[in-house]
Symmetry: C2
Subunit: 259 residues, 2 copies
């Protein structure tokens, strides 16, 4: 079975948000890693050199590296320096998505094909699934998640529910992964994400979904529900992704050595 690691991408923030110095350093280093300037297994310049390079204090440089460490991009040892980690082993889900620049994405070869966009009103069953009040209206975008291989069966089905107030985004929504929608909402409407909560469950595939996913009805599948909450604790976007069990493993790194 193919195992898909959820990957992290360091995102260039829009001009609308000011960036702190250490975040700037962190992003620059992350881009250096992504671009291959710092290959996997190589060592980052030592802290003091980074200090002179960025004209920053050691404290700032350390805060930046700490960010990368939290993302699992680098590991550190006392005398050995800061090592760039292997992506395939470190691109697991990191918890401390500290800043808005962090993006969670599927593999590089991944494609997303929008199947349907329409308005829905939450009924009793959906309300329990989404964890919101019944009767609420949403704009729902349904899409298939495909691997690079055209012949391979789809790896998942995603329903994204967003507040109808943001329906103006309808045109651009199809082109972006759902996580980006939050950035769009944040940029255009100023509604900030205060918290992202995620539930992972098992379920049996419905006949309809099984048909869409080219799988057997009743087959076990993974359901990942992600809720984007604002400061009031209200969800303004909810995404539900369903992966047939034989095509997806949700992998994460719970702890990595400090040093």
């Amino acid at each position: 079975m193919v195992c898909y690691h959820a990957a992290l991408i360091y995102w260039e923030p829009g001009a609308f948000m000011s960036e702190t110095f250490y975040a700037r350093v962190a992003r620059d280093l992350a881009e250096g890693i992504a671009s291959g300037r710092f290959p996997v297994g190589s060592r980052l310049p030592r802290e003091l050199d980074l200090c002179t390079q960025y004209e920053a204090s050691r404290h700032t440089v350390r805060a930046a590296i700490q960010e990368l460490q939290g993302l699992g991009l680098v590991s550190r040892k006392k005398r050995a320096g800061t090592r760039v980690e292997n992506s395939s082993s470190t691109r697991g889900y990191r918890q401390s998505l500290a800043s808005v620049e962090d993006l969670v994405q599927f593999g590089a070869a991944h494609r997303r094909v929008v199947q349907n966009i329409g308005d829905v009103v939450v009924d009793r069953g959906l309300a329990r699934q989404l964890g919101c009040a019944a009767g609420r209206a949403f704009l729902r975008i349904s899409s298939l998640r495909l691997n690079g291989d055209a012949d391979a069966p789809p790896i998942g089905w995603t329903d994204v529910y967003i507040d109808p107030a943001y329906a103006q985004l309808r045109d651009v929504i199809g082109e972006y992964p759902e996580v980006l929608i939050n950035d769009l909402i944040e940029a255009r409407y100023g509604r900030r994400i205060a918290e992202i909560r995620q539930d992972v469950q098992a379920l049996a595939l419905s006949a309809k979904l099984a048909r869409a996913l080219n799988a057997k009805a009743g087959a076990p599948a993974l359901r990942i529900i992600r809720r984007y909450l604002d400061q009031a604790g209200e969800a303004f976007e909810i995404s539900v992704t369903i992966h047939p069990a034989d095509r997806f493993t949700f992998s994460m790194c719970l702890r990595r050595e400090r040093g």
Copy 2:
């Protein structure tokens, strides 16, 4: 359906490991929260007061609070101070289990009943499941996970595979949750955990497991495989837990607001 949040407990380190100052402060504050000295919703003393109280610099106090923040125990706002968070909403799985003192546990009412202890040799199928080489020998401890309610069906089944070298722990193993076994190994054998990796999958219940869990064969279930790796990347403990889909949701907090 009942939703079980994986909980975090701040663990008092053994005498064998030296504690840094900021970790000491963090632990003290965490114990204050756990004991109710700092009730949920209350505010922690402000940084400068903590500085005088612990006779530490503000930098150190901030490092301690940052630890608590990473664990989801507190949230901070610029003028509003540091707030103790509601356990039920913050005890979700945190990724940045920064130090050995962190423990991951199931709910308070949870019980664990050992069903079977015995030696196994890894065959082809199990090797693929565990992600280790076939032919390797393990000591396997199988146990049921029960909720407080005696009548309720079990919420899961756990197989813990540990290196036969640690078979001397056999007597005490039954009494501790599997995560503690690592601490025992670490304390007695000095083998350090360098990394914990976790995979979450869906699967259909086998007839045997279904019988043990009082569920239907073929019913969807969640499988959580956790690997404890040493510095060489070799797993010295692997735990496999299976939860029927209707009795377990794996909930986690991906991001919480910085401020």
